[in-house]
């Protein structure tokens, strides 16, 4: 194991923690809007960290490009779908959670 391996491992574990946090939020947060917030925000960062961790290990720039493309697509889809779900929920009259 050299430095880059340690760095990858660190990034992957950090990414995993973000996913864990996002999932925890999905399960524990009180309403749809906060759950969406937890899910999309944490997972996007988590995936970014994982992509970075894997990119360090990649053999060629082409692989790095593919990894970045995956991240970009997930960001795009996640952001749009989160908006669509929230919008739909709002239109159906689901109230925001207030303490």
């Amino acid at each position: 194991m050299n430095i880059s391996d340690y760095l990858s491992a660190l990034l992957l574990i950090a990414g995993g923690l973000f996913f864990l946090a996002g999932t925890l939020g999905l399960l524990r947060f009180p309403d749809i809007y906060t759950r969406l917030h937890a899910l999309t925000k944490a997972d996007n960062v988590g995936l970014g960290l994982m992509v970075a961790g894997l990119a360090i290990q990649a053999d060629s720039w082409a692989v790095v490009g593919k990894l970045l493309l995956i991240w970009g697509l997930v960001l795009l889809a996640g952001a749009s779908v989160a908006y669509l779900i929230a919008n739909g929920a709002l239109k159906r009259g689901i109230r925001l959670w207030r303490r």
Binding site: L73, L76, A77, S80, Y83, L84, N87
Partner: protein, 310 residues
Amino acid sequence: MLFDALLGLLLLGLAWLLLSCRDLFKAIVLFVAFGLLMAIVWVRLDAPDVALAEVAIGAGLTGALLMSALAKLPVDNPPGRYSNEKTHWLLPLTLALMLLLVASGLGYALWSLPVIAPGLSGEVAANLEQSGVSNPVTAVLLNFRGYDTLLEIVVLLLALLGVWSLNSLDATPATAEKPANLVLDTLMRLLVPLLILVAAYLLWAGANSPGGAFQAGAVLAAAGVLLLLAGWRLPTALAGLPLRLALVAGPVAFITLAALTLLNARLLELPVEHAGMLILLLETFAMFSIGVTLAALFLGQRPQERGGSA
């Protein structure tokens, strides 16, 4: 091995959950999750082509179809109407015991199989040179067992014929247009060209690495589904013969090739020197038709034709 065992248990657990949970919506979501987990298993079993097909068709499009069918069910139908309310406890128990017996018998039969069995791997490897492609799965699908594939894309078209004939009995018109949504619209504009590009890549790559007409067709269909969800509809001028031509292009290309090979007295025998080219050509038509057919299956209703005879 430990990971495999965990994955196996997870699969069994998910299968049980999705088949027994009261809420059907939840069951469908679990089914999609089950499909994604299956895809991981396929990768574990060195079957990346199957993983692609599973994600795109088995989990993705089937999930979309299930959701849209659930939405069409009558509302007064309690979504979670559960089985065991009417039946006595004895029936499930007897059935469970019988199935346990059958499953153990099957398990024993599998257990007694020899540990090493080459199957047809030797034959595939020996004939791969002559097949025109270097991805063995594509070679089996389009050349060694190409006749199966011919019938299989006909099955897909048949499903659409069946769905259209069923829906033609229905008097209610197609669902009203959804209002345009800026975000969805932008997403669609970005993704649809990308999806088409990915489909073309999958088709091209299928010759020597995982991919092929079915996976590519499913990606193409995803673009179509996205368009449909964004409220886009096929122009009525294209909904008649042009659409039907698009749907049958794949099967017709296959049938034509089969008829042409008959002139050489052997059904579907591809000349070695042109096999690669012919397979790519076949796959292109097949991908196109599969994409259109899958998207049409998602829409369900036959698109409105010009002249109003829908």
